[in-house]
Amino acid sequence: MQRSEFFKNFWRKPIFATIIAILSGFIVAAIILASAGYNPWTSLGALFYGMFGRPKYISNVIIKSTPIIVTGLSVAFAYKMGLFNIGAEGQYIMGALAANVVGYLVDAPAIIEIPLIILAGVAAGALYGGIIGLLKGRYDINEVITGIMLNWIALYFSNYIVNLEIFHKPNTASMYAINESGYTSLFTQWKTTEAAATFFQEHPFIGDIMRTDVNMGFIIAVALTIFISWVLFKTTKGYQLRAVGYAQEAAEFAGIDVKKNVIQTMLIAGGLAGMAGVLNITGIFPHAVSQLSAFESYGLNGLCVAFIAGGSPIGCILAGLLFGGLLYGGQSLQYMAGAPSEIINIMIGTIVFFVGLEGLVGMIVDRIEKRKAAKSKESGSSDSGKSGSGTGGSDKKETVTTETKQEIQSPELKTLETGKSQ
């Protein structure tokens, strides 16, 4: 009983559906690889080698994941109150840009420089997200539309700033890098010393890792995730936010100011996406914003990450790592197996698609259980389910009947109930 209880719940948990989705992604990718004439085993092997094969790879996966974990967090946070922050891309760009500008113009000791850069980037992202929040909260303009438009504005604004004479580094496509005191890279000085070289020779594992842009970003991302979880689940702000997200009308009736919460949420979400930009500028070479011909998709990938994570902040870390791993490992797919790295996009697309079908998994589980319950009922006595404490399925049915018993003409309620159980 205990065991089946656990399994029943496990099948129903979103994480099960997510695992199925990820597996489906790999299976579809394997099928496509095979049909295109590549050996799926060696190709996927190359992908995994590209993620975990060397300490350096693991380190790079983490570095690659860092900004998308944070943009994912931004999207997940906004989504908790029902907002779809597709504008994370623009907020990311503005955050990175502000970080670059301030980091270049101000040259202070690290203890001042880094907080200053963070403040600038977060503020820029927050304001940019705040525009969306204001338009949504005050004038009820759809946040997806404004988000997409603001993304383009951010892209071209960033290109404009990059090409201003005072910022543009001659003979490059980038701005001047931020001052070194603003780097969050670890051991940058020490790495180049003689002592380090010998140390790396003695400890090749660490040496391999140190050849990458090891930085504080991931730690900050994890800390942010914990902080956001705390805000969401332990503070009154998070309580309000979730109440609005789950049941706007109930929240309104309880005296929660929905409009104000929309604006505040977008400020915070924007700040987070801006922080992702800060982490890239402070942590990763070339520590500067480059001219962009297209979106780098840090924000847009954040949407996928949040989606795969099912909106859970902690889940964003795992989904972000998966995403970063696929993006980074995909490169070795190309040079080791010769397979086009575009297969990674197909894989990601499939995963997102199947995560979207999460309800389907639940439905299948429901159906299997119902069939089982029907069978056990047949074999048992013909008791009308009044004893209640059977399977989860029949429990749900029980509520449906009591609800309908109470309300004569309420087919809506019935569909609501059955809708819920799926």
């Binding site: 009154t236 702000k237 109440a243 009736f253 009947t401 009591t402 109470q406 309420s410 087919p411």
Partner: protein, 512 residues
């Protein structure tokens, strides 16, 4: 009655159950060809369910349907339409951005062949229908630009365009202005003169008297009678609709009303479409008194609650609690002024279903100490508080604090709401349909809780669509109709016939 060609619709021994509830229990309906037939009953009596069976939206569990003496099996609305049955729902199903003509032909478009729309011909056909029945609408007008009365005509036109012989109108007057109602009755007569048969679902007596030839009364899923409208008076109809119910006795001592706590003066407000819905409403509730607001759905109750809770603007008049005006401020202000409200729609307005019981228990007090301090929630304090409520109000299962409230039964969900609102220690407790959807035991519990609050010296305003409930629980009964209070009675003098008549708008008629 035997199946007969002279009857457009005959429904015999129709039974329909939802779960354990019998929505229809051997209901009979015989509608003569070319007449207007009304179906009268209270909210939840089964009128709409019966018509949904006829229109194929529900299938009856047992019973037969005959059209013009022929037995038919109406599996779904498509079959119904093929048999010439049309239904105009209470909530219109029109495409806002389409023109009248486009809406009418939707689903049955006239084409030139090759799938090209022939709007010109369609428009001509529509114009013919408009002229024939005097349904004044402009076929080129956009739905979003025309009045609700016109939209309803478009719905009727839609049905006529599909060639209906039998037209079902579900509460057609609920959304109309008096002038529009008169127009509608005119249209109905013209349709009948043209050989159509109309079935109208309503609980407004005056309109039945003004339009219908015969009337079938249903009460709580039971067939009561079919009468010739000309032979009965409004009060006889009201009697049959309400019935002589056994009064559930509610034990309570006589009220000891104190000073006035809550006062509404000449309150005016508009509905979502901007039409006046509260028309100079006056109401007072004293300390230690339960005032029951009796009335049929849609007479302004919903808007009244929304104005009090500041979810809707008042156009005029005042709402005073302890002498302080609270209209047109914020929801939070209403609460802070000492008003707690048990909302009618507990799953939508009263609870966040995805929250746990704990979280729901502090939905309107989470920001106060000890539940939170400087913006950080104190889960333990919240849990302890909830546990106390769970014990005090016997909420089941016990220890349900960490469970999502979705999993609780309707009665227990309601207990959580009532416990929460009472815990706010309000001066005025507003309970809107507090027993809706609850079983008898739970209903009794809710009533006891309301009376206990009264005995503590609180003012209680009970708004209910169940006349029984108001008559049994309230110390003072106020009747709302058409956005105003039609009369106020002490419980001892509250007579269910007089009140029933007043609720259906009959009282004002008699006075005129």
């Amino acid at each position: 009655m035997k199946p007969d060609k002279e009857y457009a619709v005959q429904m015999h021994d129709i039974t329909k159950t939802f779960g354990a509830c019998r929505a229809l229990d051997n209901v009979q309906l015989d509608v003569k060809k070319g007449t207007i037939h009304a179906i009268l009953g209270e909210n939840g009596a089964g009128k709409t369910t019966l018509m949904n069976v006829l229109y194929g939206l529900y299938r009856q569990d047992s019973g037969e349907v005959y059209l013009y003496g022929e037995k038919v099996d109406i599996k779904n609305p498509t079959v119904a339409i093929r048999h010439g049955i049309g239904m105009v729902h209470q909530h219109f199903m029109l495409v806002e951005n389409f023109t009248v003509a486009q809406n009418i032909i939707l689903g049955q478009e006239t084409t030139k062949g090759g799938g090209v729309l022939d709007l010109k011909r369609a428009k001509k056909e529509v114009e013919e229908l408009v002229a024939r029945y005097g349904l004044q609408v402009n076929p080129d007008a956009q739905i979003s630009d025309i009045t609700v009365g016109m939209q309803q005509r478009v719905e009727i036109l839609k049905a006529l365009y599909r060639g209906v012989d039998i037209l079902i109108l579900d509460e057609p007057t609920a959304v109309l202005t008096p002038q529009e109602i008169e127009d509608l009755i005119g249209i109905m007569h013209r349709l009948v003169d043209d050989g159509k048969t109309i079935i109208i679902i309503t609980h407004k007596l005056r309109e039945i008297k003004a339009s219908a030839d015969e009337c079938t009364i249903v009460r709580r899923g039971q067939y009561i009678d079919t009468v010739k409208v000309a032979d009965v008076t409004q009060s006889e109809l009201a009697d049959m609709m309400v019935g002589h119910k056994v009064r559930l006795s509610v034990d309570k001592e006589a009220a000891k009303p104190g000073e006035t706590i809550f006062e509404i003066d000449n309150l005016q407000a508009s509905d979502d479409r901007g039409l006046p819905v509260l028309k100079n409403l006056n109401l007072a509730v004293h300390a230690g008194e339960i005032v029951g607001l009796a009335g049929i759905d849609g007479n302004g109750q919903k808007e009244l609650v929304e104005v009090i809770t500041n979810l809707r603007k008042a156009d005029g008049g005042t709402v005073k609690i302890d002498g302080k005006e609270i209209q047109n401020t914020t929801t939070r202000n209403t609460m802070n002024s000492g008003v707690s409200t048990i909302h009618e729609d507990r799953q939508k307005r009263g609870l966040v279903l995805d929250f746990t019981v704990d979280e729901n228990a502090v939905l309107d007090s989470y920001m106060k100490e000890p539940f939170s301090k400087r913006g950080v929630l104190n889960k333990k304090a919240i849990h302890d508080f909830t546990s106390q409520l769970i014990t005090e109000y016997d909420i089941r299962p016990d220890n349900c604090g960490d469970m999502p409230i979705r999993g609780l039964s309707g009665g227990n969900q309601q207990k959580v709401i009532i416990a929460r609102e009472i815990a706010n220690d309000p001066d005025l407790l507003i309970a809107v349909q507090p027993t809706r959807g609850l079983d008898v035991g739970a209903i009794e519990n809710v009533h006891k809780m309301l009376i206990r609050e009264r005995d503590k010296g609180k003012a209680v305003l009970l708004i209910s669509l169940e006349l029984d409930e108001v008559l049994n629980v309230a110390d003072t009964v106020a009747v709302i109709y058409d956005g105003a209070i039609q009369g106020t009675f002490p419980q001892s003098e509250a007579d269910e016939r007089t009140i029933g008549l007043m609720m259906a708008g009959g009282g004002t008629d008699a006075a005129e």
